[in-house]
Amino acid sequence: MTKQVTLTIDGKQTTVPEGTLVVDAAKTVGIDIPVFCYHPKMEPVGMCRMCLVEVGRPVIDRATNQVVMENGQPKIQFLPKLETACTNKVEDGMVVLTQSEKAKAGQKSTLEFLLTSHPLDCPVCDKGGECPLQNLTMAHGPGQSRFLYDEKMHLAKHVPLGELIWLDRERCIQCARCIRFQDEIAGESVLGFDERGRSTQIVSISDPGFDSVFSGNTTDICPVGALTTADFRFGARPWELQASASICTQCPVGCNTTLNTRREAKEDGEIVVKRVMPRQNEEVNEIWLCDKGRFAHHYTESKVRLTKPMVRKEDKLAKVSWKTALDLAGEKLGEAKAKSVVLASGRLSNEDLFNLKALADGLGAQAILYSDMGGGDLVAQVGMTQGSNLGALGKGDAIVVIASDLYEEAPIWWLRVKQAAERGATLIVANPRATKLDRFATFSVRYAYGDEIKTVQNLGRKSKIGDAFAKANNAVIFFGSEGLGLNGSTNLAAACAKLLEETGHIGKPNNGLIGVWQRVNDQGAWEIGFQPEADLATALKGKVVYVVGADPTGDDPALAKALNGAKFVIAQDILETATTEIADVVLPAQAYNEREGTYTSGERRVQRFYPAVPVTGEARPDFVITAQVAKQAGVIMEGISVSIAFDILAASVKSFEDLNYAKLAEVKEQWPQVGRSELYYGGTTYENKQGLGVQLISGAQRGETVSLPKVQKETALRPKEKELLAVPINKLYDRGLTVSPAELLDQRVGEATVALHPTAAENLGLKAGQRVKISFDGVSGEAVVKLDESISTGVALVPRSMGIAIREPALAKVK
């Protein structure tokens, strides 16, 4: 327990941990000391001089070493100069004055200095309304400036730092928050100051400009309107915006978000999402968001949203009433019973998936999770459990990341893991190629694609790395699907689970297995009882298929063939897809931001999201549609309201026991306080008033006997001499259904690529940037050659969801 220190600020006494900064101590007693350069998540630099206060210390008598008393009170000696509250640490008996004449004068003068070069164009500034500089100026800015306006420096107002972030050089107050964020927090210092003195200005000469997937966060913490996103700038005035709590749907981290909406003239009066903002959850995303989560939200506004149910008549899809569509769908499923299949993806909410599972059970049909990655059932047993927080991992703990490029697959996890490593955690990064996490790794382990199991088992053996892991107080393993299909990843999960069990790292907080899934709620699907199917094609043949939130036809020719061979296809989705086009019945579903629901994150945290925009056309929530289909199919289902659906889920699924919507909505005070547009300014990140969610208790912690499958010997194909093995990897900005509608990201999505070792490329007579044809079992596509020295000469890396269907490693030809 750290020593506590008691001091007095503006007459208010407060006791805080030793080492606390005066500015933070003040916040704890509700005193806002104005700051610009200081941010509670970053090292203080004391450069803006806004937080000037008077600091006094008790006088100590040299001789007696006692505090000198003066009529009953300790005698206080104030420092001759004003001090910066953001750099001074608290001391016992310290007296701080933030409102004295001298302090106020100091703050006022800093403000006046700042305004000599700030345009004060608040009326046209995106930050207007949530800007501390504006608020301060209102509060006690100089009435009219003593600085002659025509002597102001005029600078460029529209400087792109890349295609996502714009800089207004006149508004910048040189606080360096953006630079320090990129350097200290993101670990990618792609922003810097150019020149010096009054000419100091922000630059980025990275390629592409502002090359970081965390760039959007700088627009949140920029205390003025100098940095804005290409997505939102000039989009709206902050005070016109409605705010609804939501959860990012782009990856299994489950970042808490706030959707800012407004009625749009150009969208003929519709209410639309104007921007996605982070919502504070210190145990999930803190106050950050990755650029995919921030900018890829547009898919829900896609022009190809399904608006009306449809039924195939004379080989054409015709719009029909809900009743007609539901009757037909229900009837077909009811007839087929066990000869039907429910195929659903982790894009759906817990409620949706639960109803679907209930329907399948009622029909005696198979409930298949649409995914090429296994192991979620093990995560349910030995995964993260209640009370876990990656933010708590540090010295003495260990983290393994295997077969995953966290930066590309789950950026906020990458950030949290990096920070844990910086706090002293042992970070073991095992991947066949170099990734951005290597830089922070205590140990970087390279293995050949196919050697995943051996690699995990080695971690169990006696060795420097093995001991570091075994002896760790807490240990977490992230496993992914890089270079692996369903079998490979399932087997890898088993090996990881076994290692965790053997080293006693299960069944307690901050220990266990985390799956780096491809979809937001894959873990939820597993918890509810969905399982992927190794031979999906066969499983679909001749069946009545109810496919929800997935596009097998579009993803993979083999599956397209299989679906064509299905008896009857009921497709339920928010968008038109290749699958809905071939379906016999099409059911339009509501997008996550049009309805309520919950997702289960990879850390097994169940979190609520809320409606933000009006429903598109006649679309209905998935779980409702399913309940209605079930009724027609003769399966009784009460879950027609979302909280009831969840209550039934909680009553039937062990790991959800005792949970309900009220519990999920509970919040507790979080530090640092965000203080949006207050003077103590954390950024435009939203406070969390709508719920921090609840983590599921793992089977192991519930005391269930953990039953782990036997780890299979490796069967996966391996790179051999003289032939190329195409292996799937995951890319952040891909052509996925939930990304491509966001045109802003086109440049970052880029073309399909195939990465080769330089020598391999040479042998094939290929150069970087060259267009090639790559083909393997039945699949083929065009891609651009990339070179990667860190991979073996035998492999060709093919990103998933870039138009070339690759579900697992395969022998390939590149021409």
Binding site: E188, S189, V190, L191, G192, F193, D194, E195, R196, V203, S204, I205, S206
Partner: protein, 166 residues
């Protein structure tokens, strides 16, 4: 061709001055080397130095931007930087500069028509007792010229011209 390839000895010497875990400290000497090589610090040189020291291009650019002795564009072969700071000005530096401008027919900050010399006014060069004075920054470094007169200066420039010809 990278600096390390072109000047292996110099680069090695420079890196040897600083603890390996703090090799970023070598950025300034390496930038001087790059500037000597190209006459100014090119974008490619910045990339090269950044890679060598495992920092970002932007990091390097912001160093170049901060210090006045690095040039990120090619203005001329020589920079004649006259000290016009207080102590020198008290001894006629401003007048000297004026005359020089007049004879060269250019303003402070401009380059002679033949693109050989750029005339700049700079702050104190620690030669206040030898005003008027200037430093001449050129391909092979930098030298002080003290107790200067207009004639001596014009001769110097003429000499530079001749030397540049052959």
């Amino acid at each position: 061709m990278s600096l390390a390839e072109k000047y292996p000895k110099e680069v090695k010497q420079i890196l040897a001055k600083y603890p390996p875990e703090h090799k970023r400290a070598a950025v300034m000497p390496l930038l001087y080397l790059a500037q000597r090589n190209d006459g100014y610090v090119t974008k490619d040189a910045m990339k090269d130095v950044a890679q060598m020291l495992e920092i970002t291009d932007t990091d390097v650019a912001s160093i170049v931007g901060f210090y006045t002795l690095y040039h990120d564009e090619h203005k001329s072969k020589y920079y004649m930087q006259v000290c016009t700071d207080l102590p020198c000005a008290l001894r006629g530096a401003d007048q000297f500069m004026e005359n020089l401008c007049e004879h060269l027919g250019i303003q402070v900050g401009e380059t002679t028509p033949d693109g050989l010399v750029t005339l700049e006014a700079v702050t104190c060069l620690a030669a206040c007792d030898k005003a008027p004075m200037f430093q001449l920054q050129g391909p092979d470094g930098l030298e002080y010229h003290e107790d200067m007169t207009l004639d001596k200066t014009l001769e110097l420039i003429a000499a530079l011209k001749r030397e540049d010809k052959q």
